[in-house]
Symmetry: none
Subunit: 205 residues, 4 copies
């Protein structure tokens, strides 16, 4: 009895926390971290400012959790999608396509991860860097596999991995900031070819 009660309370608490997180994402996507006030988030979440502190120790804890959530969402999606493929090139392609699709679907997420939060605070940067590093690591693993299979030249796969991730990052940022390229999906195909050639894949159309 007491147990179920607690569970229910926990659920309720969790759901309220989720609501705040959702509201916070929206507000952060518009303004930068520093320019976003707790009051604004609370208003968006339709709670009082004080209530915010029942769910988060402070502002930093909030942004931390947001980034961690995104970390999870993004990398989990990528890992799941990659699991459907065994070929290195396919896995690379799957990684990026998943990433792009998620960003298109959740533009706020892209804005926060790529535009708003960077530069705010070394602690958050560290989290963001974790995500990026994880993505780079995955990419490098694929490249190493392809290299060991002799399907790409014997080059520094770390640099290639950075180039791969960086090129996508730039295209997405530009799309977020300037709205160009207009059709991100088409551009991603071009970009993929660019990178496959860059890695040294033979017979790219």
């Amino acid at each position: 009895m007491a147990y179920r009660q607690t569970n229910k309370v926990m659920e309720k608490l969790q759901s309220k926390k989720k609501e705040i997180l959702t509201a916070a994402r929206e507000v952060f996507a518009e303004n930068s971290y520093q320019r976003t006030s707790i009051k604004a988030i609370a208003q968006k979440a339709k709670i009082a400012t004080g209530t915010f502190y029942l769910y988060f120790r402070n502002k930093d804890a909030l942004i931390n959790m947001i980034v961690e959530e995104m970390f999870y969402e993004l990398l989990e999606s990528i890992r799941n999608e990659r699991a459907n493929f065994s070929d290195g090139f396919d896995k690379l392609q799957a990684s990026m396509e998943t990433c792009i699709k998620l960003f298109i679907k959740e533009k706020n997420m892209a804005k926060i991860l790529l535009v708003q939060v960077p530069g705010v605070n070394n602690a958050f940067n560290a989290k963001l860097i974790d995500i990026e590093n994880e993505l780079i690591k995955l990419t490098k693993e694929d490249l190493d596999e392809l290299k060991s299979q002799g399907r790409i030249p014997n080059e520094d796969t770390f640099v290639s991995a950075l180039a791969f991730v960086g090129s996508f990052r730039q295209v997405i940022i530009n799309w977020l900031r300037e709205g160009k390229p207009e059709d991100l999906e088409v551009s991603v195909a071009t970009l993929m070819k660019y990178n496959l050639r860059g890695m040294g894949k033979r017979d790219v159309s």
Copy 2:
């Protein structure tokens, strides 16, 4: 006796302004714009807070000048170096090599331009974006030239330009943040090859 309004005095004033700019660059390289206080800059420059305002109208004017200086330093260097070459591929290579060399020489500049990018909604960031866009534009021009010469495939050069710039950006950022790749100059050569292949240049070693 009165100050003699000689060159000496003027130089001293200019040099003081430079000192403040240098101090500000150092502080900005560590913290973001929003988290950098005038007080901190003044302390670094060993002046009183009020003195800052003798040299800059306000905080925004300072950051504006810093970024404009960097804009000038970076793009002027690149343009100068590019002028030595007529071949499109050579110009692309010259662009990036100059950029990298400058960043190695002036690490704070790289940190400010690439890492401490603050939230999107201010003049500071707008200027930074200008720099990036200018670099992308230059790259695209080279690619368009190469395309018209039939030396690279008929693909969206805007996307290629973004990929090119983005891949370098990522490598430099990683070097700044993690110290890897350790030997940036060597990696840049690899990266260049990656990109040349990516663009579709034939016979890249």
Copy 3:
């Protein structure tokens, strides 16, 4: 439990605002606008500096409200009292007597309106001038009526109105500053006779 958004809460807020206004009036009565700091007002009102900004957008908004309140209090009292009379001379007398009575009752108000007038270039002063002008306008209307009735000579009623208001102003100011004349009410009677004669009323005792 949540605050109940009852009348009680609202009243409390309003009363707090009133308290701040009262404190501000007291401080302004001692020092001029420019020399009055928010901190001083907050201390007088026994609140923190930040609390002030929960009730007023900024310093100007406060002074605006203070003067508008006074504008309302003073002119409304005068208009109400005048409504009891139809004779021009009676209305003039009613105007000034009401004014004097209010100033005796609310000495701070008199001090702010008459003594702490700050430099000309701000909104505060503009409002104060509005009050004075309104009073002059009312006086002029009475004089015009009397003139059209042939009860005072055919002279420039604007000048007379200024003289009328100015003479009262001077007496009150002197009373505020020097405590003389000691018995303001008696002096006001004398002053009234002075002005009635000045206007050209016949048979003033």
Copy 4:
């Protein structure tokens, strides 16, 4: 030799001090005391800010001296002019006409005495009040004389003196602030009649 040298130096110093005072008057007439910076005065006087402090202990000392100068100029003019008359009414008229003429000639003086400085600071107010009180005292003396001669009714001459001065003050202030009455000299004649009647003079036209 040394003596003459010193004298010369003193003269020069005095003349520079005068220049600063003149500049300060101009600046104060435009902006209020608080909004007038030493830098602005120095610029108007074509000296360096530091130089200001060679001639005045501080900003307060400057305004003090300005007001004292005006005190002297105004009251001395009035006293001189009054010396030409022996009749009480003539002396009253001479007082005010001199005052008005001086204010018309030196509008800055009027602005400073009547509009800018009041309310700034109790210390300056005190000086201003001295001037006003002196004027009131002179007026009262005339009225007392007239009363003892039986030429005006047996009323409180202090109140009459206040009314007299206050009515002029109001007209001048209105002229400074609003530009009305347009022709001050004509209005002053009307005003004089108003006051003569007010005092109880017989046979005012």
